[in-house]
């Protein structure tokens, strides 16, 4: 059984007991435990089931590479699936559940898949769910959906908060092991600003468990002193619980800081995503031990040798009473020694190398441990936990020589440097034959904006597994990074470390090397996705020679651990089957993040009220108080209508329109874009921007204008007011202000940079309120002031500055409704007060606000176009019969050349007309005018489409605007338009001006 030892546990605070629950059962652990170590201490070895076969699984590892021990962590708003027990720090009150089983971890119905292993080979899904086609929808997809996905999806809103943080440093060091610390010191001594991040809560990495000496002192003491030294350096920042998640272009680094995963009751953000720019990056990310591929290597109790050692040394936990060690290298002997020294049994060390190990092997033998060279495991016995191993010769086919009872197996297939962060931004790898692993190729480092390398690798991440070599490499890496960042590297020599030389490892990709199909089908490569040696071999046989194809066909390395354990073993298996050297098979692409990071940390602050910026006018609060129904227009929220109690939106819109047409109402038009264009060349510039002539506009007057892009298509419209000889104020659409301002600046900065014109976007300087209706002037007169707003004093399409009431105002006599209308701009700070004053003055006329829908309907009644309704990026002014707004006198304007193209000048283009349904009904939005016959795709031919369609309260009938083939020549003709229910509606082509054709109402 796995249990807590009386001694040991260097990371534990045994004075502080913590309570937690797993699958509803209560357990205790200590401060300093991980969830995995605490479960093991309570003899809870089985922590989940595998994804495909639902095989019982326990932890394989003790850190970030863990594929099996994933849990649903927390409850309600703190629930999160797929949390690795090995990297989850224990806290009081932690609750979690195991995953991928039903009804329980111990008894799981899905485990029947396990007995069907033979029938779920590589590519099973592709091969099986093919025919009959109809079965997809009703049989296959429901089955796949039922079983797809790891863990449960959270149901509740995340109760935690998250944030981003921007940091700028000279050197980022990733990894707080002895190499990372050494590199940080070497870089820091140069004076460079250094940020060192470590994903766990502890410094020193593997060296704290593995031991050794640096500068004549035990490595643990050396690390402690180093940390103290770094903490005292002002230019060095140390952050633990922070993982280097990704390395990106131009020195961009993501640091994923788990601020209070370990202390969920404290206030503050749960995770912080550091968005770092570093001149240089040092990856001191260490190495990960590889499993060995033998039958039954996934049975709970079979673990990486280093993990079993970690649990003993770091957490005082024994995984088993009797642990068989199986290895192809010397490092695993450390585990045997550590276990033995903890008072536990090691029945045998199986060393696959015929020549056996070096000094460490001697040390093990001296402790009385039996060592068998050239031997391996034929198969592991047991179901929910290891009960024994069958020993065989590594060189053979698996004939059992002896069976040994044990309850744990410590395996080591060698070590692979963690090259992920080196590789994220294009760093290349080289195959190290001696150590049988890929390590970074320093001559092919990722390059930055200056074309120079910006990532350096240090220590075991660089393939220097030996402490002495690793520390020296890290010291050099830190110096090199500081130098590359522009600092003078320290002259201090690297510390000296001594370690017993080890015998060479020998690659073992299958155990025994001649294992037959019966063994291979139980030899796991990828634990999380249940990929075995047999699957990769099958893929190769079926022609999947590319490692990227094999990955996708077998799902090798596609799980949430992204193949940290399986990658090298998998591609070595593939290479073996293809008879190709491993480096020519290559690796799959390493992509960020290194381990999964929370969605919350990616979103950062962008949730709830600040998910997206909302733009509010100075009168927004009033609209809100009135319970206006808002609609989004760009980032603005504009009142669509102001429904009164018991009123539908349609009824509200009708009321607002009739009030406007019959008396007076008001509109918050503050969102309209307002851009000042000033300079001696302003007129010339606007002549280029608008299709019509603006330079001839007189000060004090307004002119409606159209803007096209160089394709000739309409992009915006609005009223231009000439303020003085040099100055114009251009109104744009609500959504267009920033875009059109940018458009103006683009032409001024990049094409006509010698023209003397300045622009300024003053959209938000003003609150602009339209007072609209036959009584509009009376309301203004009541407000008083010094402005003559009489029919003659301020004529249609004129503007004036002055006082209205107490307010500094600019009044434009323009109309988008066909009514007598004044749009009045006051400084935004006075906007709300002005709105209130109008409401008060208009009370006797029943004044009320109207929303954007009333605005839309009223402009459609008048046949006025709306950018975005009548235009869609393919419409030219000529399509809308707006030739009157296109100057013929101008040699050039933006879009003019494009409009000369044959297709633009073609009489076959659809033209804007009005439509009146014969039955008075409202045509559906987006309806098409249907024509005879079908096109090549068997679709009904069309001859036009509706651009705007409304119920007109003024006319009490449906009205619409449409672009129709030869439309202007077909007045009076009846066409058919499709409806959503498949039927059609008949409509007569009419003039798009439905109301007050002569414009008498606005000219009073």
């Amino acid at each position: 059984m796995s249990t807590r030892l009386a001694q040991g546990g260097r990371l534990l605070n045994k004075g502080k007991q913590l309570h937690f629950s797993f699958n509803g059962k209560q357990f205790t652990g200590y401060e300093g435990d991980t969830l995995a170590s605490a479960l093991l201490a309570n003899d809870q070895l089985m922590m989940g089931r595998s994804f495909k076969y639902h095989r019982p699984r326990g932890p394989v590892a003790s850190g970030a590479e863990e594929p099996n021990a994933l849990v649903n962590l927390g409850k309600g708003g703190n629930f999160e699936p797929n949390q690795r027990a090995t990297t989850t720090e224990l806290f009081n009150g932690l609750t979690c559940e195991s995953q991928n089983h039903w009804p329980s971890l111990e008894f799981d119905v899905g485990a029947v898949n396990n007995y069907m292993t033979r029938f779920f080979p590589a590519g099973f899904y592709y091969k099986t769910f093919m025919f009959p086609r109809a079965a997809w929808k009703h049989v296959f997809e429901p089955i796949v959906r039922q079983s797809a996905g790891l863990g449960k999806a959270p149901k509740d809103r995340d109760a935690d908060t998250y944030e981003h943080f921007y940091a700028y440093v000279d050197v980022v060091v990733m990894g707080g092991g002895v190499a990372g610390l050494q590199a940080a010191k070497a870089a820091g001594l140069s004076g460079a600003k250094v940020l060192l991040m470590e994903q766990t809560a502890h410094w020193g990495g593997r060296s704290m468990v593995d031991g050794g000496e640096v500068d004549g002192q035990p490595v643990a003491d050396y690390v402690d002193a180093l940390v103290a030294e770094l903490e005292a350096m002002e230019n060095v920042t140390l952050r633990n619980r922070m993982m280097g998640a990704g390395v990106y272009d131009h020195g961009y680094v993501l640091g994923y800081e788990r601020v209070r995963d370990h202390a969920p009751l404290e206030s503050g953000p749960r995770h912080r995503l550091w968005r770092i720019r570093a001149k240089q990056i040092v990856t001191a990310t260490g190495a990960i031990e590889r499993p060995l591929s033998f039958a039954g290597n996934d049975i709970p109790g079979v673990m990486l040798a280093s993990a079993i050692r970690d649990y003993v040394v770091d957490y005082g936990v024994s995984v088993g009473d009797r642990t068989v060690v199986v290895t192809n290298n010397d490092d695993a002997y450390r585990t045997a020694i550590a276990i033995k020294q903890a008072g536990l049994e090691v029945p045998v060390i199986l060393d696959a190398r015929a020549g056996g190990g070096g000094a460490l092997a001697d040390e093990a033998r001296a402790l009385g441990i039996r060592v068998e060279n050239g031997k391996g495991i034929a198969k592991v016995k047991g179901g929910k936990r290891v009960t024994g191993v069958a020993i065989c010769a590594q060189a053979g086919e698996g004939a059992v020589l002896e069976e040994i009872k044990c309850d744990a197996v410590a395996m080591s297939g060698g070590w692979s440097p963690v090259v992920h962060l080196w590789s994220h931004c294009g760093g290349k790898l080289t195959w190290d034959e001696a150590q049988a692993h890929f390590r970074p190729d320093p001559s092919r480092a990722p390059t930055s904006h200056d074309g120079e390398a910006f990532v350096t690798v240090a220590g075991s991440a660089n393939g220097y597994l030996d402490l002495a070599l690793g520390v020296k490499d890290a010291h050099d890496a830190g110096k090199a990074a500081a130098k590359a960042a522009g600092f003078t590297a320290t002259r201090k020599a690297a510390p000296k470390a001594a370690e017993a030389p080890e015998a060479a490892m020998e690659p073992v990709w299958l155990m025994p090397q001649g294992a037959g199909p019966e063994l291979r089908i139980k030899a796991w490569l990828d634990y999380q996705n249940d990929v075995k040696v047999s699957d990769v071999r099958l893929a190769a046989q079926e022609g999947y020679e590319s490692v990227e194809h094999t990955k996708r066909y077998t799902t090798l390395g596609m799980a949430s651990d992204q193949g940290k354990l399986s990658n090298i073993n998998g591609l070595a298996t593939l290479a073996g089957q293809l008879n190709a050297p491993i480096p020519s098979v290559g690796t799959t692409t390493f992509r960020p993040p290194y381990t999964p990071i929370s969605m919350g940390s990616i979103a950062g602050e962008a949730r709830g009220d600040v998910f997206q910026p909302l733009r509010r006018t100075p009168i927004h609060a009033w609209h809100d108080e009135q319970k206006a129904f808002f609609e989004p227009v760009g980032h603005w929220r504009r009142p669509y209508c102001y429904p009164r109690t018991g009123e539908s939106h349609g009824e509200a819109v009708k009321r607002e329109i009739l009030q406007t047409r019959n008396s007076v109402s008001m509109l918050d038009a503050s969102t309209l874009g307002k851009i000042i264009v000033k300079g001696p060349d302003a007129g010339k510039f606007l002549d280029m921007l608008y299709t019509n002539m603006m330079s001839t506009l007189k000060p004090g007057r307004c002119r409606y204008g159209l803007m096209c892009n160089e394709n000739g298509f309409l992009i915006d419209d609005g009223v231009v007011a000439r303020i003085d000889e040099d100055t114009f104020l251009c109104h744009t659409t609500t959504g267009g202000a920033e875009r059109i301002h940018g458009w103006m600046e683009d032409w001024l900065q990049c094409e006509w940079w010698d023209w003397k014109v300045f622009t300024a976007n003053v959209t938000e300087q003003y609150a602009q309120i339209a007072i609209v209706g036959p009584n509009a002037r009376k309301v203004l007169e009541k407000l008083g002031g010094d402005m003559d707003i009489s029919k003659e004093g301020l004529t249609f399409m004129g503007w004036k500055d002055g006082k209205i009431g107490d307010f500094d105002a600019r009044a434009y006599r323009i109309s988008f409704s066909g009514e007598l209308s004044y749009e009045i701009a006051v400084p935004a700070s006075q906007g709300r007060a002005f709105w209130d004053a109008i409401l008060e003055a208009g009370e006797e006329f029943g004044i009320m606000p109207y929303g954007t829908e009333a605005l839309h309907v009223m402009r459609a009644e008048k046949g006025f176009i709306m950018i975005g309704d009548e235009t869609d990026g393919t419409v030219i002014p000529q399509d809308l019969n707006m030739q009157w707004a296109i100057s013929k006198k101008k040699e050039d304007f933006l879009g003019k050349r494009a409009q000369e193209r044959p297709h633009m000048a073609s009489p076959e283009r659809w033209k804007l007309v009005g439509l009146e349904t014969l039955d008075g009904s409202v045509i559906p939005d987006g309806a098409y005018a249907i024509a005879e016959g079908e096109n090549a795709n068997g679709q009904r031919n069309t001859q036009g489409r509706v651009t705007s369609t409304y119920y007109s309260p003024t006319l009490d009938r449906g009205i619409a605007m449409a672009l129709v083939h030869h439309g202007t020549d077909r007045m009076g003709e009846v066409i058919e338009l499709n409806k959503v229910d498949g039927s059609t509606v008949k409509a007569k082509i009419v003039d798009p001006i439905f109301f007050d054709k002569d414009g008498e109402k606005q000219n009073v």
Binding site: Y252, T447, H449, G742, D892
Partner: protein
């Protein structure tokens, strides 16, 4: 994510402060131009693997448009320069030549 130095305000701006504005050094053809020239101006764009010239705008910053010369494969930036020019500065062309001898891009080399 790129970092480009805005030649107008001097800020080393990360991409989130910037807005990509398409290809650089387009020559405008207006009314009276030949169809082919106009088509080239409106539609024909370079899509090189390697040296490229682009327009960017420091939109969340000083608001200025500027030019950038960079490699689309390595993301090496050879330089950023004024928008008020019809061709890349010699200094930047030299820098590119040092890295990619014999390069050419439209009429520049």
């Amino acid at each position: 994510m790129l970092t480009l130095q805005c030649p107008y305000c001097g800020v080393w701006a990360e991409e989130t402060e910037l807005h990509a504005e398409g290809e650089a050094h387009l020559k405008r053809f207006g009314p009276g131009s030949e169809d082919e020239a106009f088509e080239g101006y409106l539609f024909m764009r370079e899509n090189p693997k390697g040296v490229h010239f682009e327009r960017w705008r420091h939109s969340n910053g000083c608001g200025k448009f500027f030019h950038a010369a960079r490699s689309t494969t390595t993301l090496e930036v050879f330089g950023t320069y004024s928008a008020q020019t019809l061709e890349p500065p010699q200094e930047i062309k030299d820098k590119i030549s040092a890295k990619y001898p014999g390069w050419s891009w439209r009429e520049f080399a």
